[in-house]
């Protein structure tokens, strides 16, 4: 399942950290927007692998624009280690 992390505020892309193929965890900083004279991090909404980066430094983005697409990792089919219960339903 793929999920787009979107811009939560209008602004200009200041920095991009995420690259396709990167493994990211929910809450990781994927990049930085500048808005309201502040540096506002773009935080990963899901844990998984970066499938697509749709922002570049200097771009203007509007609220809701998709910035980074993360493909959720499929749950391991084997293994006995306890897994944390999923805490979220699909969007």
């Amino acid at each position: 399942m793929k999920f787009a992390t979107t811009a939560e505020i209008v602004g200009t892309v200041l920095e991009v950290f995420a690259r396709p193929g990167d493994r990211v965890a929910r809450g990781d900083t994927l990049g930085v927007l500048e808005s309201m004279k502040m540096e506002i991090p773009v935080l990963a909404e899901r844990t998984g692998v970066v499938a697509e980066v749709m922002m570049a430094a200097g771009c203007r983005v509007a609220e809701g624009d998709p910035l980074v697409v993360v493909a959720e990792l499929p749950a391991p089919s084997t293994g006995t280690a306890a897994q944390p219960a999923p805490t979220e339903s699909k969007a």
Binding site: I9, K37, M38, E39, E88, S89, K90, A91
Partner: protein
Amino acid sequence: MTVQLPPTTRPRLDGARPEPDPRSPLPRLDRLFDPLSFEVTAAGGGIDVVVARGRVEGVPAVAFCTDGSRQGGALGLAEADRIVAAIDLAVREDCPVIGLWHCGGARLSDGIEALHGFARIFAATTAASGRIPQISVILGPAAGGAAYGPALTDIVVMAKGAKMFVTGPDVIRSVTGEEIDAEGLGGAEAHGRRSGVAHVIAGSDDDALAQARTLAALVGDRRRCDPALVAEAEADPRRLLPDNPRRVYPIHPVIRALLDEAGAATFIELQADWAPNLVVGLGRIGGATVGVVANNPLRRGGCLDSVSAEKASRFVRMCDGFGVPLLVLVDVPGYLPGVGQEWDGVVRRGAKLLYAFSEAVVPRVTLVLRKSYGGAYIAMNSHGLGATRVFAWPEAEVAVMGAESAVGILHRRALAAAPDHERAELRRRLTEDQRRSAGGVERGVALGLIDQIIDPRRTRAHLATALADAPARRGRHGNIPL
């Protein structure tokens, strides 16, 4: 007072001990109240609602529970009247009422009488609003009237798997053609993130009941703040802020550092994932309950906007109605500009926050952590709106806008006229002047808009003293679900 729990299901024919249906009211009420602390005040008689009175976290409370094991918990007039009686009982006893909901809506066989029953619940809930805390816990489906009943109360807690909607997926599909399942339509994600209907999303039924207990105990507690319980000086909470003023940070560690440590329940946040740029929730200072309203720079830079203003307004009015003092933590770059915001009613919704603070008579103390600009300065419980005390940490900026932006407007011509190689230096000098003359916290102090610049290490001591010194008052109004 304790009573023998009556069996909740008929004995099985084989004589084995009956297993109570987990969806029936008694096991649920039993898990809500303190052990052996409750008595059933109304049950049986062919009416599928049970009412009980007891203690939660030591605080007296009344609770009612619909019977999810019978007709999906659907309510007829008799069930509704029993819920109305429970609310009235809590009003007479001046204690919180907790409603446990598992209810598909109106009982069809009761026809329009069932609708009338829901109307009576709505009227009773509204009449009790602002007089006693009303908390709803959704433990299954809560459809139609069973969604509106909780929505009229002060706090809605949703357990995992709970669903709330006015019309279900089938009706939606037949009318609009939209395909969605019940969880997507009215589950935790829908009401925790999108609609703001749910104040707390709990992991399980037990977690939901535990959260309701904690919240009832917090809101229902009228203890006064005792500064003797707060240390004179503590670790500097300003260490939780970044050095660079352009950097953002999560506000939650700051909130927790300023509240009493109380195990896991230092701070209970409400509507955490909805409008997360503004944080509201309950905790304690000096042993007394306080409501916290705080900008959260990590999200949207901590801007105020249309939705967050409305979120804060309702919370402020709830706290005022129950005599819960307010702590307002300010680090706000301003109101978020934009066409979307204006058309979304930021004027109308932002006005609610101005109204809520202006109206509030509870002690309400403001602390400016880092910056407070423009209209957002006013809205975040400024002196002009009647704040009890306004504190600021050293080097905080209180201004119409940031010095850099102000210079860009005030000195636009001078900057444009300056030779290219001198422009940066001119801008730097003007910005410094601007900061000194209009931006720094000293000007706010000189004008009496900030009472005191405080040593961050003594923040809790200052807050506790301010809260304890203010007269304990309580607003006289309901808590309309803004």
